[in-house]
Structures are given as C-alpha cells and as structure tokens.
C-alpha cells in the first residue's frame, strides 16, 4: 500500500534536481536532462510493475466496490467516446482511405489496395490515432483528477482507511483504458474503411464493395488481429500508467497539477511512439 507508492516515487523524487541551480555549461545541462529522463523511466517502470502486480494479486478483491469503478472507467475511456470516434472515423475515411483508393484506382493499382489499407489503417493509423485521442481526452482528465486528489490529501485518506490507492485508483483506470482503446480502435478501423469506400464510391471509382472488402480481408492474417489486440492494450496500459504516475507521484500542491498534466501528455505521446516503434519491428520480423 503506502510502501508500493513510496517505492515507485522515491526513485523519481525529482524535486531536488528540478529546483537545483541551472548548470552553467551546456554539457552539464544535457547531462542533467538525461539523468532526469532516466530517473523518470526508472520510476515509470517501477510503477508499471507495481500496478501489474496489484492487478494480478488483487483483481477480484473488493469486487462490489471495484466492479462499478472498472465499468465507469470502461465507459469513460470507451463508450462515451464513441460519438467522437464516429466523427473521426468518417474524417479518416474521407481524407485518407477514400483518397488512397481513388489514387490507386487512377494508376490501376487496385491490387495493392488491401495491403495498403492493412498497413496504413489497421496496423498504424487506427491504433496510434485512437491512443492519441484517448490520451488527450481521458489521459489528461486522469492526471488532473489524481493530481487534485493527491493535493487534497485523498490518497493519504485512502491509506488511512486501509484502502490500497493503486488498487482503488489505478487498477480501474488501467483496465478501462486498455479495453477502451482496444474497442475504439476496432470501431475506428471499421468506420474508416467503410467511410473510405463511401468516398471512393462518390468519386465513381470502379470498385464494388465486395471486391474492396475482399481485398482487405485477404491482406489480413491472424497475426494482424493478435498484434492489433496486443498493441492497443499496450497503448492503453502505458497511457494509464504515465498519466496516473504523474497524477500521483509529484503534485502535493494544487498549483503543480497543470504543470504535471502537460508533462504527462508529452511523455504519453513519446511512450506511444516508442511502443509503435517496437511493434513495427515485430511486424517486420514476423
């Protein structure tokens, strides 16, 4: 409980560094930045492992309290974002998919349609765009809510009641975000592909819906489904970890909350890009 959080946060008790005098030489400044980045990575890693441990050990503890909280987070990071994702899927379909289909048709390269769509939409754009949008909509809310709770002493209040803050506050958010991003990515991909065909149809591209979806289906293999699920859930897990970590680790004062929200979003984007890079390697290897 208290020990769990303390272990993760003592690794990155960065206040000393952040408030130290600015080094005079550029190399020293660079060194300090690098050192801070390494400490943050270490702290995030520890926090991720602790959270994973709590999820595995206490998944079914206090079900009557935790199940509604998990449902609430799934709703917040998934169901309530559906209207926005409907709009984004339409936009993505019209702007990217439709234009790509038209361009391929113009040069007579419709044979490459399936593999192009799978690489662009299913593997890359769908998951990454979903992760970014959920980070912006729900990740920021996570930092602000947890940062405010921390600043108002609610985390200590939980500990005083024998309630593990990682279990009560973090676990529902991690599960909600992992499942939310997974489900929203599927909807985004399906919506973008469907609206993309609509755009191409409106431009009189000579392609039947049957051919269009058949080509895409043929370009997909089982690994795409497995890696899509793994990738989106990894995005969700780490976005939740980064935003919750920054919400809980640093701010003890209300005025710190906005500062850490900005930092958390920046680091969230970096983490998503790094995860994406790892998955590109996986796709290339397989």
């Amino acid at each position: 409980m208290r020990g769990n959080l303390a272990k993760a946060f003592q690794l990155t008790n960065l206040q000393v560094f952040r408030h130290a005098a600015t080094p005079k030489s550029y190399t020293d400044q660079l060194g300090r930045k690098l050192f801070l980045a390494l400490l943050t990575v270490q702290g995030l890693g520890a926090f991720a492992l602790i959270t994973l441990g709590v999820i595995l050990n206490k998944f079914s503890f206090a079900r009557s309290v935790m199940q509604p909280r998990v449902r609430h987070e799934i709703n917040r990071a998934g169901v309530s974002l559906l209207p926005m994702f409907f709009f984004v899927a339409l936009a993505l379909g019209f702007l990217v998919v439709g234009q790509t289909v038209s361009a391929l048709a113009q040069v007579g390269a419709t044979d490459y349609l399936g593999s192009t769509m799978v690489i662009v939409i299913v593997r890359e754009l769908g998951p990454l765009l979903t992760a970014m949008l959920v980070l912006a909509r729900v990740g920021t809310a996570n930092v602000i809510e947890l940062g405010t709770a921390r600043a108002l002493g609610e985390v200590e209040a939980l500990e005083a009641l024998g309630i593990d803050p990682v279990h009560y506050l973090i676990m529902p958010r991690v599960i909600g975000m992992a499942l939310g991003i997974f489900a929203l990515t599927i909807y985004l991909i399906l919506g973008a592909l469907a609206s993309g065909y609509l755009f191409a149809f409106l431009q009189d591209v000579p392609l039947t819906p049957g051919d269009y979806f058949k080509q895409i289906a043929e370009a997909l293999n089982w690994l795409d489904f497995a890696l899509l699920a793994l990738k989106t859930m990894t995005f969700g897990f780490f976005i939740a970890i980064v935003t919750c970590y920054h919400g809980l680790a640093q701010p003890l004062r209300l005025e710190d909350v906005s500062r850490v929200a900005v930092r958390a979003v920046t680091q969230g984007v970096v983490v998503c890009v790094l995860i994406d890079a790892v998955f590109i390697v996986l796709y290339l290897v397989t």
Binding site: F61, V65, E154, A157, A160, L161, G162, I163, D164, L252
Partner: protein, 262 residues
C-alpha cells in the same frame, strides 16, 4: 508476522524521530518516547507548524519514523503491509479538515471502508451506515457531496467514516479546528462518550489521541496532555499539571485570544 508486546500498551514509540510527509529528510520531532494504554484520552498540543499532523500520522502508522520505533498493538509500523491489514484497521484516523472524497456523497464516503474491506454491496451496508449517520446527526446530509457540505459537517462526516470499521484507537488531527461553538461542544461530548464506551462500540471504551493548538477547550481531569515544541515531545500529565506548568510552551497554548492566561 510481528512479535506481540504486552496488552497494556496500544501505541508505543521508542526513540522515534519523525519527518514531514512532504520531505522525509526534514525532521519535525526527535527522540519521542511515549506509551498509550487502552482507554486513555491523550491531547497532543503544539503551535501551528510544530509537526502535530506528521506526529499523528506516524503514530497511526501512515508515516514511518526515520529513526527509532513505533509499535501499534505490538506490531512495528515499519513492517505494516498487506499481511498486517487487520492491525491497520484497528486504527481510525480523522484528518484536519476531514479529507472526504469529493466525488462521493457523505453516505458513500462513510460506507466506502466497510464496503471495500468486507466486499459488501451498497444495500448490504445501508442499515449500518444509516445507524451511524443517525448517531452523528448526519442523516439530512447523507446524499450531499462533500463539496456542498459546510466545514463543520465535513469534519463530522470524516469522523463517521473513521468510526464505521469500529477501530480501537482513534486519532484526530485538529478536530476542533474551524468548528463553530455548537459543533465543538457536540464533538467534545461525543468524544467523551466514546472514551467511556459508546453504544456504537457495544459499550467498549475507545482510546483517543487528538491534536490541538489550543489547550483550553480540552480541559478535563481524565485526559492526558503532551506538548510538541522545538522538535521536542514532552508529556505534561493530567490537566492540573498543565494548569500549573511553568513551561512557556504550555503557557502559550493556554493563552486567551485577548492575551490573558487561564
């Protein structure tokens, strides 16, 4: 598992040095030697910023002493973990200002510890919560969120939340801070009932430790007093010894707002 000491001590600090919550390198109280027996009612007084909150949080096992030891029910707080949860729940803590969960109503705040620790649904705890809210005169505010609650009632709701699990030791950080006269009187009487044995606890006396920056309100022959001053924790004794104390720290805590000394 931790070793157990004599049943006559609920809380024991030996050579304990206490740091602040915000900065574990900053010591606020040093070398505390203190024992609390069952049924005692202690008042720990000190000027603002003297480290009362950190002292109480350490006594409750929420902070660890940087040196020395702090034992609750014979269990070293350093070793408090999941396995010692049962010991942990024998201690109730009321923060200054209450620190209620803002997103929950008063009834939900009070019910949360019981629901979480016993895995019970809302309907299963409804009767217990209702009974406690009635005792605390909080029934009209049951469905109010803490943000819509006056400070007087927030403090009372926080006390109800701490009592729902029926702790054996209750620690209150500045419980009279910011309360109106009527609420002060109610709280002092209620705490006295808890010390003597309240029906909520089946008549069992409760051990209580409260912090304050004004000793005058706590005058009572059955209470014991200690003072935090200049990083030193000193046990003064019962009220007569407080009233006759020559210590300037004690006198400062007895000063009337007008400047007169009791």
């Amino acid at each position: 598992m931790s070793e157990t000491t004599s049943n006559s001590t609920i809380l024991e600090m030996r050579g304990a040095t206490i740091s602040t919550l915000r900065d574990s390198t900053l010591n606020v109280v040093e070398n505390v030697n203190w024992s609390v027996a069952p049924g005692e009612f202690w008042i720990v007084a000190g000027q603002p910023q003297s480290g009362k909150s950190d002292f109480l949080m350490t006594a409750a096992g929420l902070l660890l002493p940087t040196r020395g030891s702090c034992r609750l029910f014979g269990c070293e707080t350093n070793s408090f973990g999941e396995a010692q949860l049962a010991e942990r729940l024998r201690v109730g803590f009321v923060f200054a200002g209450g620190k209620l969960f803002n997103s929950l109503t008063v009834a939900e705040n009070v019910a949360l510890p019981l629901r979480y620790q016993k895995n019970l649904s809302d309907s299963e705890v409804a009767d217990t919560v209702e009974k406690l809210l009635e005792i605390m005169e909080l029934t009209p505010f049951a469905d109010s969120t803490s943000a819509n609650l006056a400070a007087n009632w927030r403090q009372r709701a926080a006390l109800a939340r701490a009592l729902i699990l029926k702790p054996e030791l209750l620690l209150l950080d500045q419980p009279l801070g910011g309360l109106g006269v009527r609420h002060r009187q109610w709280l002092l009487q209620f705490l006295e009932q808890l010390r003597l044995g309240h029906s909520w606890f089946g008549g069992q006396p409760l051990t209580i430790i409260a912090s304050t920056d004004d000793l005058r309100s706590w005058r009572h022959p059955q209470r014991k007093f200690a003072v935090l001053d200049e990083k030193v924790f000193s046990v003064i004794g019962v009220w007569n010894e407080v009233a006759s104390s020559a210590s300037s720290a004690v006198k400062e805590l007895l000063v009337e707002p007008t400047g007169a000394i009791m």
